[in-house]
Symmetry: C2
Subunit: 368 residues, 2 copies
């Protein structure tokens, strides 16, 4: 993130805060923290926070953290004044609320522990501070990516495909799901990714019938279908792609079913443009499988991708949100048959003014 | 966990709930969930829960999860009745609260999002249900390990040392901190661990002056000191060990400082027995470094280890809790000098009736 992007994000957030009558927002959610400040330290679970942002409507934005992270925070978040807490975040927050004369403090209800809220409430009562639980203020902003973010997302996808290809060519009978998943995650790091964006899914044969399969010690046999759903984090942005192929020569059943899923994916992609709802795109893809007489997948068609691998908007039967240019979403229909296996195909796309731009170029088994 | 251990844990928890006038406890914390039920699915962040336990004081304990996890839950948690939610956990909880005629429901305040609490409050108001935020009910129980848990912790430490040794012998000038950390984490998985219990620390030279160093691309040079702090998860239980050594021949300064830290560790271990406080053990170790004229470390001397790598009790200046037989703690004094580097040594011990049992056998550079 460059300084201009950072200043623009802060200015837009402050505009929202002013409109809602909020004096300052306490940001606890790590992806929101990174988006607004550039500070990359991850939390180790919500109970071990790497810091908080305190963004008043006027004056310097602040980054609150402990001694382990102050150097990193100062280096990564030049627009923020770093304040170190020694006796816990709330003690420092109390001092700052007094100093900044805050009357109304908003916090992120979706990423704030109840026990911390109880202590914050006690503090607020003592200081005459009004607390405002808020949801999605920063997540809303994150949905629309700027040019720089879109560029990094393109690069993240490109790297993900390069990793996939380099491992794909080594896959042979006898390898286990776990071995392939490990090879993919290792290759990601070797090639410069921060790590996987989610636990890599590698599933053979009937194991692929479970949409969220976890890699096992099952060995690949010639003729097995192989489903790989993988993503990585590159310069803070996630990628996500699924391919399904056969170890050896696919039979006609596989080819027919694979074509149906591919048609569903293409129908979903064709439906994407500004103004349509997530539900409409989901329906366009789902209908292709229904018309072909296949069972419908139990998950949504896709989800937003950015700093988080799952974010807004959702493409699902319940997705009422209208798509807008600059959103980035996955399109991932699936066909699951418990006794046979599963096929899922997934590409990522950018919503553009005219329609969408498909980020993926990998054609593995898409030419069946 | 065998069935007897599971029944015993549930029975002790119910005893506590009855004493506190609670009809049922909703368990959201993943380590507590695993401890009570045997169900191993991890959360992907607090916002993507793999399920909840609902433990009434009488009747079947329940495991609430969604369709992705029901098979796993049924296989891993035989003492629990698995209930699947389709429209979110709270909708199912509302039905169960009515069916079980719950009047007072406790939840884990330290692992419960404020936004979920708001929705739970609305539900409670509608149903005349009293909510009780609780802290540490299950964490208290987890502090004292049973024989089976102690055995797995011994095995986890043994495996951690085997992994350390196998990589230690490959370390040579030119390798980077990141490469060594990656090799350790890869070897853990190859040798049967579930994964690292925390992000592996590998720090050369001055990088080791930061207690929470993150591995960099710095290359090892002959004569550099090397600090490795690593742990793994084996059958659900964590290990944690630190060794510091020199690539090549240590000079007298390193030998002197290393001996001082070793003496501090041994003094800490010697102070451990039932009845002493965490603060007293911390002081015993810290005093050795003070007496030798070294700066004191800014972190606590140690922490409990079990299903979580950091749990109660804490060995620190603020550790008022008395040690009891069956607790498992680390003892990890350090000496940090910004211009020179750092030395930390860490063993894990079980508190026994007479004193303690040291789990580690690795002697790398401890014979200086």
């Amino acid at each position: 993130m460059d300084g201009d992007a950072g200043r623009d994000r802060l200015s837009r957030l402050r505009h929202t805060l002013r409109r809602r009558g909020i004096d300052a927002l306490l940001v606890s959610q790590p992806d929101n923290r990174r988006y607004l400040s550039g500070y990359t330290a991850p939390d180790h679970g919500i109970q071990e926070s790497a810091g908080f942002l305190l963004i008043p409507v006027a004056g310097s934005p602040l980054l609150l953290t402990d001694s382990r992270f102050t150097l990193q925070a100062e280096a990564e978040a030049p627009l923020f004044k770093v304040e170190m807490y020694r006796k816990g975040m709330l003690t420092l927050l109390e001092q700052l609320a007094r100093k900044l004369d805050l009357r109304t403090l908003a916090f992120e209800s979706d990423y704030f522990l109840h026990s911390v809220f109880l202590r914050l409430s006690a503090l607020a009562k003592k200081r005459g501070l009004t607390l405002r639980p808020e949801r999605g203020l920063v997540e809303q902003m994150r949905m629309i990516k700027d040019e720089h973010e879109l560029d990094v997302l393109r690069q993240s996808t490109r790297l993900n495909e390069t990793v996939f290809q380099s491992v794909y060519h080594t896959i042979e009978p006898g390898m286990t799901e776990r071995e392939i998943a490990l090879a993919l995650e290792l290759t990601m790091r070797e090639m410069g990714a921060e790590g996987p964006s989610f636990d890599t899914i590698v599933a053979f044969g009937t194991n692929a019938a479970r949409p969220h399969a976890v890699p096992t010690d099952r060995e690949l046999r010639a003729g097995d279908l192989v489903l790989i759903d993988m993503g990585l984090v590159y310069r803070g942005y996630c990628s996500d792609m699924t391919r399904t192929f056969v170890a050896g020569k696919p039979d006609q059943t596989f080819i027919d079913r694979h074509r149906a899923v591919r048609q569903a994916m293409l129908a979903g992609i064709a439906a994407i443009r500004p103004g349509v709802t997530g539900a409409a795109v989901d329906r366009a893809a789902r209908q292709v499988l229904i018309d072909a007489g296949y069972p419908v997948f139990g998950h949504g068609l896709g989800h937003g991708v950015g700093i988080a691998v799952h974010e807004e908007p959702r493409l699902s039967p319940r997705g009422t949100k209208q798509l807008r240019a600059g959103m980035v979403v996955t399109v991932e229909p699936g066909l699951y048959l418990a006794d046979w296996g599963g096929i899922r195909l997934e590409n990522m796309v950018i919503v553009t003014d005219q329609g969408c731009e498909v980020l993926n170029r990998d054609t593995t088994s898409l030419d069946l």
